[in-house]
């Protein structure tokens, strides 16, 4: 064998191009977590009393919980007293428009390829940008408001739409749901809120861009999307973080609510800093994402492209409560070097004639571990429920691992549930075939991987599909000689 393939084992560092830090003056809470910190955060955000109480209740419950250890991931325990729970880029006054935003901030987002100021001319995507703990600006607000669409930061929503927040916050992911959701409920600092009124099709992609900048900071954002009857929204989140040697914690909660005939399409391109090639540093990404198809004929579709984070623990789920509701989960998870991902979905069929579809594509390289963990549950009353799941794994190199843990629980005899899974590697013959046509090995791997992931990539909104495809190639750079 010549160098082309024998160097499969030879993993070379791939460059994380979002690893820069920005010199932003930040205002932070002291390290550590106690009731005073929570009061500090709540006061900082000028929150109503009920929300503070809610946070404290979550905190007290969190104290009784232990960190879950069932996922197929290994990492040193997080010292929750060594995290800064609030960090906000300092701005003298709250900006009224993007023109007033700190230019260093805008430059940060421009470097990330998200130009807040030029949004209008460029892509027609409304963006809410969140740095560390707070939202720094939302574009397109006025245009959306004309349609009755609310799209703003969570902090703003608490002030301006308390009735909606009170009604829906924690309604899908209760504060007691799990260790990280309880923690998030206690200390969440910002995030995006979105409400689409009855009968409105949101005319543009809504997007939140998350960035961790400050050192030792955890990011605990909270996203809430409510789609009222017969409405439609497509939403995208993107994430990056600077390269730092220590691990940083990201524990977000996302809740989606779809009423009768409503549809929510939620796409994620997750590219948190994965750590260096020796596994040093990187983000712990412990996220709870769940949507409820509350109404009949409603639909929630999750699409995720997961390339970053040192450790990922994430199961975007659908509770299919409304009759004829539909849940979808499309995922590409790529792990390289020392990354570990334990990700998948839960499809909980409660209503009649509910349907779900799971397409998961895992790609492992280097010495990484990539697990799919999923649950399809058909309850006793979910007559005629249908599920189809496809989980495929692709291995690059012989020191990585691919694992599938599907749980299927069926309590109704009219259900039809199908699950298929395959594991394979990139064939040497496939690479040679490409080589013979003049394509070098690296490009050949990218072509094959993109083909493997195509079914999921096709689900991404156009504007981001190209970006995501490049991200796949970058993540796997150097994984095959």
């Amino acid at each position: 064998m010549n160098d082309g393939l024998s160097t499969i084992e030879k993993t070379i560092a791939s460059d994380y191009k979002y690893g820069f830090t920005s010199d932003l003056e930040a205002e932070s809470a002291p390290k550590g977590l106690n009731e005073d910190i929570i009061r500090f955060i709540s006061a900082k955000k000028n929150e109503p009393g009920w929300l503070l109480e809610w946070r404290l209740k979550a905190y007290r419950h969190w104290l009784t919980m232990t960190e879950p250890n069932w996922a197929n991931v290994n990492y040193p325990k997080v010292d929750f007293q060594d995290v800064i729970y609030y960090s906000a880029p300092k701005q003298r006054v709250k900006p009224n428009s993007l023109d007033e935003v700190d230019p260093e901030l805008l430059r940060t987002f421009e470097k990330l390829g998200i130009s807040m100021a030029e949004q209008k001319r460029l892509t027609g995507v409304a963006v809410d940008a969140v740095i560390d703990s707070v939202s720094v600006g939302t574009s397109f607000k006025e245009e959306l408001a004309e349609l009755g669409i609310i799209f703003c930061s969570m902090s703003e929503a608490v002030q301006e739409h308390p009735e909606l927040i009170k009604k829906y916050l924690g309604s899908v992911v209760p504060m007691t749901d799990n260790f990280y959701s309880a923690l998030n409920s206690a200390v969440f600092t910002d995030g995006s809120f979105c409400y689409i009124p009855k009968g409105v099709r949101c005319p543009m992609e809504l997007s939140t861009y998350f960035r961790i900048n400050a050192e030792n900071t955890g990011q605990f954002e909270r996203t809430l999307i409510v789609a009222d009857e017969s409405s439609y929204v497509s939403y995208l989140e993107g994430c990056t973080a600077p390269m730092r040697d220590e691990n940083q914690l990201h524990a977000a909660v996302v809740e989606l609510i779809a009423l009768d005939h409503a549809e929510i399409k939620y796409s994620t391109v997750q590219n948190w800093y994965p750590g260096d090639k020796d596994g040093k540093g990187g983000i712990y990404n412990f996220v709870t994402k769940r949507g409820i198809c509350q109404g009949a004929h409603s639909k929630i579709s999750w699409t995720q492209v997961e390339t970053g984070s040192a450790v990922t623990w994430k199961y975007p789920s659908c509770i299919l409560k409304g009759d004829y509701s539909v849940g979808e989960f499309y995922s590409v998870a790529v792990t390289n070097h020392h990354q570990q991902a334990d990700t998948g979905t839960k499809m909980i069929h409660l209503g009649k004639n509910t349907r779900s579809r799971i397409v998961s594509k895992g790609i492992s390289a280097g010495v990484s571990q990539n697990s799919y963990r999923g649950l399809v549950s058909v309850s006793k009353n979910a007559a005629n429920a249908r599920n189809f799941s496809q989980c495929d794994s692709l291995l690059l190199g012989d020191r990585c691992g691919a694992h599938t843990f599907p749980y299927i629980e069926v309590k109704n005899s009219s259900a039809q549930v199908e699950h298929e899974a395959t594991t394979s590697k990139i064939g040497e013959d496939q690479i040679f075939y490409c080589n013979q046509r003049g394509i070098d090995t690296e490009t050949a791997v990218a072509l094959i991987v993109n083909g493997f992931a195509k079914e999921v990539m096709n689900q991404l909104p156009m504007e981001f599909a190209v970006e995501a495809q490049k991200l796949l190639a970058i993540t796997l750079e150097g994984s095959v000689g």
């Binding site: 012989d398 990585c400 109704n412 259900a415 199908e418 699950h419």
Partner: protein
Amino acid sequence: MSTVTTIKEKMDLLAAKADQLAPVRQAALKAFNNFGLPAPKHEEWKYTRIGNVFNLPLQWAPDQVDAVTAEDLKPFLLPGHEEANVLVFVNGVYASALSVIRSASIECMSLEAAMDSGYAELVAANLGHSGKYLTDGINALSTASLRGGVFLTVKRSKDAEHPLFVYNITDARQVNMLSQPRVLLHLAENAGLQMMETYGTIGSQESFTNQVMEVVVEKDARFEYYKIQNDAAHASQVSTTHIRQTGKSFVHAVTISLNGAIVRNNLNLVMEAEYCDSHMYGLYCMQGKSHIDNHTIVDNVMPHCESNEFYKGIMGDASTGVFNGKIFVRQDAQKTNAFQSNKNVLISDDASVNTKPQLEIFADDVKCSHGCTIGRLDEDGIFYLRSRGIPDQVAKSLLLHSFAMDILEQIKPEPLRNYVDRLVSERLAYEME
């Protein structure tokens, strides 16, 4: 006194016994005290509440086996019995009077005796090997209770002239019985054995059989194994078959489960040599409130192995089914081909199935796939048959029978296949009533 307390006392006594098996028992007792009985949060026991069985006042089996006679055995006999090597366990204790070894190629002795024989090293290395894969109190309970167990070996380059029939009989006429049969089976190089095993509870009291059979299959050996579970509806069992393929060899295992209260099967295939070839088939066809749980582990340690796994279930009444199939492909096990499929039909609104196929893969040059389906009978198929004049119920049982056929065909000895086929057909006719 609670059952667990009684059991612990008995195990303490056994552990104190100064015989050849004492160290094995003592280690297992330590493990049992450490694990305790599996709670529902034990991942491998999530869907099977085995702890409930111990809420019964279970009786520790007596050493005497003469309460069960040849006459008592008759209802459980499998076809071909007269010509077979027969091994009978009464309440988990080997009953020599009811057993017969006809084949010169098979050597049979107690586990204690084996520890003093030329096989001592082999026994020491393999007795309790299943505990490496089954880390729970149930497996430890069996090993800590070692008593009345049997060591069998099929000699080098011999095909056993007669098949081996194993009957696990539990006498529950007077008391609720705890029965723990234990076998260590060895197939020497190039040996061949066909084995059938079944379970029978006499009497109307409840029973719990905690069986462990460990098998060592050496180079070029061939092991064919049929497990028929059609015990009483008030009898529960955990039946562990742990097979090590230490050389390039062939294993063909078929598990047929038709009745029982809680039936849990652990079938482990550890492929420790290159070019092993293994096939595992299962059919479960349950009624009433039966609970069937098939846990399988295929561990690919070495390269170039091939494994095939195919389980099918037909769930009627309020029965519950569990399938949990794990395939490991270790880092050195390149060129592994592992396939797994689990298909279920629910024919009652109260039946349910939980299935959890798992692939854990650490080698890259492998072909692995698993698939599973849960559903009901194909409406088009039923309609097609009905349009040819076949009544609805008959059409359904015909279709179910054809669904089961893939597995039934894997029973190679014809008399046994016909016997099982008849049991399955009766069951399906019942299910459709």
